[in-house]
């Protein structure tokens, strides 16, 4: 869907083939009952295909295939949506991006290199408040100790893949202002509580930090920069999430279109009824619109354009609102079978429901964009 250059098409083909092979629907249904869905071997192979390096500059050991790593990562993410695939794609890439942009040489040589190689996985303790109320509140504090060391305490509500990740990136309130820290998940004082959720193959945990002592050099970026850095990571995540939702919607739409051709009602194909035709026309159009704005966000972010944040927000505001509605429309057109566990459709519904809510909803991102517009207006006035 998102590939536009020959190199991206190659990435798309190899990733698609790999995911089809490793994560057919039968495998996803097995994983649904497992406590852990993480397969280190699969993940290392994915890293070899390029999944972990796209947001990381070549100088830091990464590399994009098209010159725009955000757009490249959309190619991969859309296929994760299309296959409802597990794997720490979001957390690892976000943490890698943060380390590549703001990490110390030691962080880049150590944890980042391991993430790039697929030997380690990252988890993001997403703690910004996109839009105001209902956003996650930050409840981690960092207390300075001797020799630049720091002690972290608090709780991070909903962390994807925390149980399998090696490093957690989390923002803490600190004397010098909010700061990002890289927390080894095996550090003393870190405890995890497994959570339940709608997605069948992604696992989440609450991460509690009880006086976790970190040595000097755990901070990522300068003190006080974390809020802006978190916003930048939200921008990147928006590009990735929207692409993943587009992939999931694409799968739901395609199978539903086939269903309306094959299914007969009163001696006519379901798809010959105009009311159904028009609704699929609307769905197809919204899918195209979603792909267009998601791709445009990646274009702007990858180019470092000043309106990147506006595009990322517009993409989430639009796609997170439309994607679940399109898939629910697909459920409706299937009739009763559409709400059963037996039909595969729900795999894609689950994915878009989580993606459209967990890191900020369409409403939150619409408000974020609205605030950008209002601020511009205010400056112009």
């Amino acid at each position: 869907m998102f590939a536009t250059t020959p190199d991206q098409e190659l990435l798309e083909r190899t990733t698609a083939r790999f995911l089809e092979d490793r994560y057919p629907v039968s495998r996803l249904r097995e994983l649904a009952d497992r406590t852990s869905t993480f397969d280190p071997a699969v993940w290392r192979e994915g890293a070899a295909l390029g999944w972990t390096s796209l947001l990381v500059a070549e100088g830091a050991g990464g590399g994009s295939v098209s010159g725009n790593g955000v757009a490249d990562l959309q190619v991969v993410a859309s296929l994760f949506g299309l296959h409802a695939a597990p794997g720490p794609l979001l957390g690892t890439n976000v943490v890698a991006a943060a380390l590549a942009r703001w990490g110390t040489p030691e962080q880049q040589a150590g944890p980042l290199a391991a993430l790039l190689a697929g030997e380690a996985a990252g988890a993001w303790g997403h703690a910004t408040t996109v839009g105001a109320p209902g956003g996650r509140r930050r409840v981690v504090t960092a207390t300075p100790a001797a020799d630049g060391a720091v002690v972290l305490s608090g709780s991070v509500a909903t962390v994807e893949g925390a149980a399998e990740a090696t490093h957690l990136l989390v923002t803490a309130d600190a004397p010098g202002g909010p700061s990002q820290h890289l927390v080894p998940l095996d550090a003393a004082g870190v405890s995890l509580t497994a959570l339940r959720g709608v997605d069948l193959t992604r696992r989440y945990a609450r991460v509690d930090l009880h006086d976790v002592a970190l040595p000097a050099g755990s901070r990522v970026g300068a003190p006080g920069e974390a809020d802006e850095h978190d916003e930048q990571l939200v921008d990147l995540l928006a590009a990735v999430l929207t692409a993943e939702m587009v992939g999931a919607v694409q799968r739901a739409f395609t199978t539903t279109l086939e269903w309306t051709v094959d299914r007969y009602s009163f001696g006519r194909p379901l798809g010959s009824y105009q009311a159904i035709k028009h609704r699929l026309a609307d769905a197809r159009t919204q899918l195209e619109a979603s792909e267009a704005v998601a791709a445009r966000a990646a274009e702007a972010l990858g180019a470092g354009a000043p309106d990147g944040r506006a595009w990322a927000s517009a993409a989430m505001a639009h796609v997170a609102a439309r994607a679940p509605e399109i898939v629910q429309e697909c459920v409706q057109l299937h009739g009763g079978i559409g709400v059963t566990y037996e039909l595969d459709l729900h795999l894609y519904l689950r994915r878009v429901v989580v993606d459209s809510q967990l890191y900020g909803s369409a409403t939150d991102f619409a408000r974020r964009l609205g605030r950008l517009v209002a601020d511009d207006e205010g400056r112009a006035a």
Partner: protein, 423 residues
């Protein structure tokens, strides 16, 4: 042998006394949160509840309050719909066998009363009234969608018996039911509505395989049945051979009276207030999430509450208009359409307000899980009991008199296109 009939007031007074002495109070929290993180819970939950219902129904029978409008010879009280309505009013606040009213009493007992043989009535109705026979409807089929008359399940005559083969779906509680009422095709060479016949048989009959269907919220109360050479006595046939669509007319009529107005149903009406995704429930989510002061959240709470209130107002007003003849019976399709879309919208509002907390939650947090899992089955409100698309067809064609949709299902049913999916 006929007694002087007891007045409604005397009857109501007697019922009041009896209820206080014999029936347990209703549990206002029960029933509506039908989400099950572990699907096995769903089946166990239903089993427990049906056992309670059978017991409660037996108590009603023993107390002389079962089958209030059913003739005495079949175990009923031979009173009037006004008596039943009075009893239902007195029933408020008491637990009662709500879950077996639909299917067993409407439509099954109602159809037997109207179209069953004397033998069928005597064999089944007293047992139904004592809670000993719970009936299921074997009606929809996997290939059928909205087209009930397109049944493919086939009954072939063999002397005094029939042999049934096929599959039925969307049966509520097939596994705990005792008997089934089943629509089957007995003639493939005539137009589709003219080759159908209705049968009844025990769900435990040989060749009946009941499978649970798991829904996305963990519910396993719906079933699919596979019928393989199921042998049915001709005396269990309901109505004439190939006249099944006539039976269906009454079957569907009585099924629709679930919205109100049936003389055969013992119910205190919808359990009030605590609907999931109504305004108060959403306000509770918002209070928990700390965003009840967000004006957009207040708006969502108000919108959800307004939708419930409009539904309530509309049920009252459309029912009155249908009763007075100001609107035809087809107007009921507007209730179905409105409640379907309104419920869907309320489900969505609940998710919007709960947000991320409803897609990933702490284990055991039933309130948030029900929002997230409830959203997954959101469309059930627009599918179950007839899709909203069919309702829109009925409204436009029957109520507004707009041109009918073209149909390709005339001629011998054998030749009606069924598409590659029906292969």
């Amino acid at each position: 042998m006929s007694d002087e009939q007891e007045s409604v007031e005397e009857f109501a007074a007697r019922a009041r006394t009896w209820l206080a002495a014999n029936m347990p109070p209703a549990d206002p929290t029960a029933g509506y949160f039908s989400f099950h993180e572990d699907p096995a819970d769903s089946q166990a939950h239903a089993d427990r509840r049906i056992a309670v219902c059978r017991d409660l129904q037996a108590r009603l029978f023993d107390g002389g309050f079962a089958g209030i409008c059913v003739p005495r010879q079949y175990g009923g009280q031979a009173l009037t719909p006004a008596h039943q309505a009075a009893f239902n009013r007195e029933l408020r606040g008491y637990d009662h066998p709500l879950e077996i009213q639909v299917s067993t009493f409407i439509p099954c007992m109602a159809v037997l009363l109207e179209l069953g043989t004397e033998d069928q009535k005597l064999r089944h109705i007293p047992k139904m009234l004592r809670g000993e026979e719970v009936w299921a409807q074997f009606l929809s089929e996997p290939s059928g969608g909205s087209d009930a008359a397109g049944a493919l399940t086939t009954a072939v005559r063999d002397g005094d018996q029939w042999v049934l083969n096929g599959s039925k779906i969307w049966t509520t509680g097939g596994w705990y039911s005792d008997w089934a009422m089943c629509l089957a095709r007995t003639n493939w060479d005539v137009e589709k509505h003219r080759g159908l016949t209705v049968f009844s048989f025990p769900v435990s009959a040989e060749g009946v395989d009941v499978q649970h269907i798991q829904l996305l919220n963990g519910s396993r109360e719906f079933c699919q049945e596979f019928l393989t050479d199921v042998v049915v006595d001709d005396r269990d046939r309901i109505g004439e051979v190939d006249e099944g669509w006539t039976v269906m007319g009454r079957w569907l009529y009585h099924e629709r009276t679930v919205a109100g107005g049936s003389p055969y149903v013992t119910t205190a009406g919808a359990k009030s207030a605590a609907l999931p995704n109504d305004g108060p429930a959403i306000a509770a989510l918002a209070r928990r999430g700390g965003n009840l002061d967000d004006p957009a959240v207040l708006e969502a709470v108000g919108e959800a509450r307004a939708l419930s209130m409009v539904s309530e107002a509309m049920v009252g007003s459309v029912s009155r208009k249908m009763a007075s003849g100001a609107l035809p019976q087809h107007a009921a399709a507007m209730l179905r359409l409105f409640s379907g879309t309104a419920t869907t919208r309320r489900t969505t509002l609940a998710l919007d307000v709960a947000g991320h907390e409803a897609v990933v939650w702490e284990p055991g947090d039933e309130q948030l899980a029900s929002v997230g899992l409830g959203y997954l089955v959101r469309q059930a409100a627009q599918i179950g009991g007839g899709t909203v698309e069919m309702a829109r067809n009925v409204i436009s064609e029957r109520l507004l008199g707009m041109p009918r949709e073209q149909r390709n299902d005339g001629g011998p049913f054998r030749d009606v296109p069924r598409g590659p999916a029906a292969g």
